[in-house]
Symmetry: C2
Subunit: 477 residues, 2 copies
């Protein structure tokens, strides 16, 4: 049941791991970071020590020593003839959900979520009172509860995207929506267009469906349209996944002209675009954002995906897909063999939340503005050498580190200083982004300031980048 | 985007479609039934008319006339050069969820669910009150809310399967649990052991993961152990899916000896067995049922799956997997790229329901006993030629029709008489079971009696089976 991993693949994942210090300890730390980030999942078999030593230009003894450290720490197991493979590491307090719920003295910047608005309690009670009306039915709702579909349609129409209930399918969130589209429309081996960098969950889902990512670069200045055009025309991807609004992780928000161009290209190439708009309402500076990617489409070329996870609370697990009714039927059919539908009570809660979303959003935006500014201020004070553009919305700063600091090495060292943070390579289908850190500004200002102080302390302990290290692109095999 | 369907595959799906009457109308009705049951999903391309005519021993004109009927009714579309493919049929009242929510004058026997117990309203209010305690967290729970995991562990331990919270992962129900196991452990092309007949959702999920079913026969007398052994040893399936308690659709409940034998064989073959125990608590006659398939296993060979959908209500969408903590971690990792986790509010409701499950079950069993007996009585009165064993629990009677009646033809005709019912072939990975109907006894006694009267009337309108029809096994290519 072990998965194989090729040597070039591991070298690519490792990126620029040489953060200074003893080589075997640095290699062990880099591998541990990949395991902790889930990029080397349990039961992955590593290449042989000999192959790894050759590829990394190290002595065999150095590689053996690094793996010994990880074996001792419980991250690896080995057997003669089989080699070494990743086990599930025993985490500090041995709680199985430690990965997502670190001890309170650690500041976790890997997740970007605001706490729930307190009004949600009252709305949940109302939803509970409405539940009894549904008791006569079977409760299976692969399309979604009619009232929830209608509430989403009304909400989307209100914000300028005319939508009928028939065009809506209720999901467990935006990632689930994307996963469902892959289930209904993709086959193993299909090519799928993604931005690079992009949301790691979308990449993981794509891999779970055995699809092949076709990456198109995106920066703060937007999509690389020439690259997008050639990717669509040459690779002919069946599907594409884009985040046009306050992109995760870059914060980029596409202009109206870019949106028009992308939809035109995708249509010409016959690709179905999924537009993840779950961050769209989180504008901070401007009161107006460009129209939905689906604005000039009935939902046959562009599937607009939304969610309450980022705007309201991750624990709601309610999202939606807005598409042509024919596509909605195919998605519901696919869902019938997956989880049948969302819980009725949770959908009734969404029915209560959606009409009040605008009011809720006012206070969310205020919170985000305050926290974004606090994070930027702390970065300027503590790390003037880092470059951080100010995003006009969303939840993330895509910080650029000086070329002397490797983000992967910093992320590993940061854990020892009480911060968990996602390094750039997690956001690229094939690694890369070794100079980038994604910093969400969802925590209170004083926590963000403390996190930056800890990151600064961690960076100061990293020696200057090893001068024996090869240039960056050596590792991009 | 059209899926191909081979001629032998379609012939197998059609089964014994010749229910008497004009050939082209009978063929059209049989195809329509396959489309309505979702066995011919939208965008499936049919074989050419010529190939179909040859395979079915019909004139080309007869096939053309049948397809014309379906085109006119909106079930098929055609284009020169491409042939005919399935569209999403416009259903009578054009409601997109018609397939799962038929008009109230139709008795729907395709779903097997009791209405929700009214106590659920009070429990939902308690869950809503408890929600505010979770607001500080991010709400992402790929393992499940700690309180929900603990409640499931306590419940399983109470019924004789000692379980810790660490062995539990919360899912959206039993089907979602199975789908998640496939996502974590199966690859496209993997062989997977299933009972035949079995729960159609499990087969659909297996197909969605591009796995290959390895069928082992099951009857009211139990598993065919010799077949099971050879399937495990020769086909070496990586995974298996079994329903040991009041199986869907046969009602079979495995003996203790059979359970021991099956677990031993699976272990010897290195297969991971998923034991769907969502019907286990629905015993009707005997107060005792054999122990869980996982009873002598820590969860490394047998994954016990449960759900509140059948025992309490389908609209809850709460189930679980009980497995070795290492396997639970892998499942949580797989879930992190699917739907992230279940909604917090719904899990809090499960926390309220689980300690009260025994009390709730008492009244559910009483209801099921009354309804099972009413269904059997109606069948004896109206259809003495049908054979129906009395199951000791569960929700289904797996009725055997006289060889003069095709279940597929009857299911099609029954719709015109106001009953929807699932014909036998839906429960086999490759069709078959043309003499079987699955009759759930979840509706009130008077509705069940009326359903049987309507089925009887429908059967009476079917002519005797066409004597020009080939013997049954001709169609099992």
């Amino acid at each position: 049941m072990l998965r194989r991993l090729t040597t070039p693949h591991l070298v690519r994942l490792l990126g620029e791991w040489r953060g200074g210090g003893t080589a075997y300890l640095a290699l062990a730390a880099a591998l541990r970071a990949l395991i902790l980030e889930g990029r080397l999942p349990p039961h992955t078999r590593l290449p042989s020590e000999r192959a790894l030593a050759t590829a990394l230009g190290l002595s065999r003894n150095t590689v053996t020593a690094a793996l010994d450290v990880l074996r001792e720490q419980g991250y690896l197991a080995s057997r003669r003839g089989t080699g070494s493979w990743v086990t599930s590491p025993r985490l500090p307090d041995d709680r199985p959900d430690e990965r997502l719920a670190p001890a309170s003295d650690v500041i976790d910047l890997t997740l970007a979520n605001l706490p729930a608005p307190t009004d949600l309690g009252v709305l949940a009670s109302r939803a509970a009172s409405a539940l009894a009306r549904e008791f006569g039915g079977h409760g299976y709702e692969p399309f979604g509860l009619p009232a929830a579909r209608a509430a989403v349609a009304a909400y989307l129409s209100r914000r300028g995207l005319p939508t009928t209930a028939e065009q809506v399918l209720i999901t467990q969130g935006a990632l689930h929506a994307w996963d469902l589209v892959l289930r209904a429309f993709a086959r193993p081996g299909d090519r799928v267009l993604v931005e690079t960098p992009t949301y790691p969950g979308a990449l993981d889902s794509l891999r779970a469906h055995s699809c092949v990512p076709v990456s198109v670069p995106v920066g703060l200045d937007g999509w690389d349209l020439a690259f997008m055009r050639s990717a669509l025309r040459d690779a002919r991807p069946r599907l594409g996944y884009l985040i046009p609004d306050f992109q995760n992780p870059t914060g980029f928000c596409a202009s109206a002209a870019q949106r028009v161009a992308v939809v035109r290209e995708a249509r010409a190439a016959g690709a179905l675009l999924v537009s993840d708009e779950s961050l769209a309402e989180l504008w901070i500076d401007a009161g107006k954002r460009p129209a939905s990617l689906a604005a000039k489409d009935a939902g046959a070329s562009v599937l607009a995906v939304g969610s309450l996870s980022k705007t309201v609370w991750g624990g709601l697990r309610t999202g939606w897909i807005r598409a042509d009714p024919e596509i909605v039927r195919r998605l519901a059919l696919a869902r019938g063999s997956q989880d049948v539908g969302s819980p009725v009570l949770g959908q009734l809660l969404a029915v209560e939340v959606l009409p009040r979303l605008d009011t809720l959003l006012d206070s969310r935006r205020k919170l985000l503005r305050e926290r974004r500014d606090a994070l930027l201020k702390a970065l300027t004070a503590e790390r003037p050498a880092w470059r951080a553009a100010c995003p006009s919305g969303g939840m993330f700063i895509w910080a650029e580190l000086p070329h002397t600091t490797s983000a992967s090495a910093l992320a590993v060292r940061a854990v020892e200083h009480g911060v968990r943070v996602a390094a750039g390579p997690r956001f690229g289908a094939g690694g890369g982004f070794e100079q980038r850190l994604r910093l969400p500004f969802t925590q209170p200002p004083e926590r963000l300031a403390e996190a930056v102080r800890r990151l600064a302390a961690a960076e100061d302990t990293l020696g200057p980048r090893s001068s024996t290290g090869a240039p960056a692109n050596r590792w991009i095999a």
